[in-house]
Amino acid sequence: MLSLEKVNSWYGEAQVLRNVDLNVKEGEIVALFGRNGVGKTTTLRSIMGLTPPLGKGKIVFKDENILGLPPYKIANKGIGFVPEDRRIFPYLTVKRNLDTGKKSTHKSNSKTKWDYQKVFQLFPKLEILQDSLGKNLSGGEQQMLTIARTLMGNPELLLLDEPSEGLAPLIARDVINLVLELKKEYGLSILIIEQFSPRVLEYADRCYVMDMGKIVFCGCSEDLRKDVKLQKELLGV
């Protein structure tokens, strides 16, 4: 569904991603782990066209090279981006935040057509809070809202950037369970970033580990679970 081939990205003069190869097949949960500052967020930003990669690399989504397209076109192909730090719009209500995720043009192949009702079914808490301003939501609720807002655009592939960061363990667990539900019940393909999370490792079909802008491990989750040395060295577990 999505594949990155030799992707190189820079911030100004500084090269952050070096020949990144990565792929997500339809219906998979793929995890990308790595310590602070190794380039995880930059990988997602590169896919979205927010930090466009340079050089000869390729990013193919559903058999089409999307590298070089502006972010809105990439989003309209069916990729949903859930950024880190829960970038909700604090001065819009929950419902109006959801409105910003709706798209007028995208003809989606996603199995579910999301609307308020469907989203509220999945996040009952948001229904209760629908008229509250985004800024008055708790961290966990804001994370739910960021995901819900992206779902309103009917994505087929969801990119999640550290969704459980800074959340209390129980709430973080809810978020990760939800990701699994999105795959199982709604057929979404998912690329999820975490520094490291045993729970994500448990749910992921495959995983990658990144260090200094390079992919240093790629395999099924089982292999990473067994590789205690790698976990210690690269993930600080």
């Binding site: 979205m48 927010l50 502006p70 972010p71 809105y72 989003a75 309209n76 981006f81 950024p83 730090d85 970038r87 719009f89 604090p90 001065y91 819009l92 109006r96 935040n97 409105d99 910003t100 995720g101 709706k102 798209k103 043009t105 995208h106 800024k135 807002r149 992206t150 655009g153």
Partner: protein
């Protein structure tokens, strides 16, 4: 103190506040979404007034009411596509300078086309006469103009707070990158908002034309109050801008009673006072030119 005089000044203040609000809202939207200080906003207002004057003289009052703002909107589309588009995402100073230069040049064009003399618009027949309440007498035309301004403001308020487009515009002021990542065409959004700002400036020109004498520099006289009100109300808040406009308009008008020679400084003093206590303005959602992340 004379109550009828006070009442007349109060009414004047309301009329002034409403028209300033219409100007300020257009300015504020462009500043919020395009991060551009549109110095030519006053010029667009001036064109609205001149177009209204010429069209109403050659055709009819009602055709002019409709055609003048549309012509100004088309002008602002041209301005956005040719000039302003180039400076998005750059230092706001570029946008300010480029629109400033455009405004100066076009003011010269106005003098070439319409000459240096000031014009005035005559009151249409349906709006002639006075509103009389006891011994208080007030121009009926002014009241109609104020109601027109109020209608425009309420329409914008509705549009921005109830439609999805409004949500996207507001969100775009806060974090434009996120808006693109959610699948919205940011360049197109900015163009639309700029044209909307132009339309509002043109409408303000239509309202201002009968109130003030029509001259090439009239835009400069309203740009500053408009800018100040946008800041007082708080960027991105339509409600704040309307309240700010009325506050500044009424205070400026009533100040004649107390400090007749210094009324011009009232908006500035109010701006300093408000920003001192509320840096984001009365109902501010973003600080000027800043994406705030909480």
């Amino acid at each position: 103190m004379n109550t009828t005089l006070c009442l007349a000044l109060l009414f004047n203040g309301i009329v002034l506040g409403l028209i300033w609000s219409v100007i300020a809202i257009g300015f504020s939207l462009v500043l919020g979404v395009g991060q551009t200080i549109n110095f030519a906003h006053g010029l667009l207002f001036t064109f609205g007034a001149y177009f209204f004057f010429s069209i109403s003289r050659n055709t009819s009052f009602w055709i002019a009411v409709i055609a003048a703002p549309i012509l100004v909107a088309i002008m602002s589309l041209f301005l956005e596509v040719v000039l302003v588009r180039r400076v998005y995402g750059q230092d706001p100073l570029f946008g300010l300078l480029i629109t400033f230069g455009f405004a100066i040049a076009m003011e010269e064009v106005i003098r070439m086309v319409w000459g240096k003399a000031a014009y005035s618009v005559s009151t249409p027949i349906f709006a002639r006469g006075q509103l009389i309440l006891g011994n208080f007498v007030y121009s009926r035309f002014r009241i109609l103009l104020a109601l027109f301004a109020l209608t425009i403001l309420l329409l914008v308020l509705w549009f921005m707070s109830k439609t999805s487009f409004g949500a996207i515009v507001k969100a775009g002021m806060f974090n434009s990158e996120m808006i693109s990542a959610l699948g919205h065409n940011l360049p197109l959004l900015r163009t639309l908002v700029f044209v909307m700002g132009g339309l509002l400036a043109g409408l303000a020109g239509v309202i201002g034309a009968p109130l003030w004498s029509i001259k090439s520099g009239m835009g400069t006289d309203v740009l500053m109050p408009g800018f100040i009100i946008a800041l007082i109300g708080g960027l991105g808040s339509i409600k704040g801008t309307i309240i700010g406009g009325l506050l500044v308009g009424i205070t400026t008008s009533l100040a004649v009673l107390v400090i007749p020679r210094f009324t011009d400084i009232i908006p500035y003093v109010m701006l300093i006072a408000v920003l001192f206590y509320k840096p984001k303005g009365l109902y501010g959602e973003v600080t000027i030119l800043g994406e705030v992340r909480e």
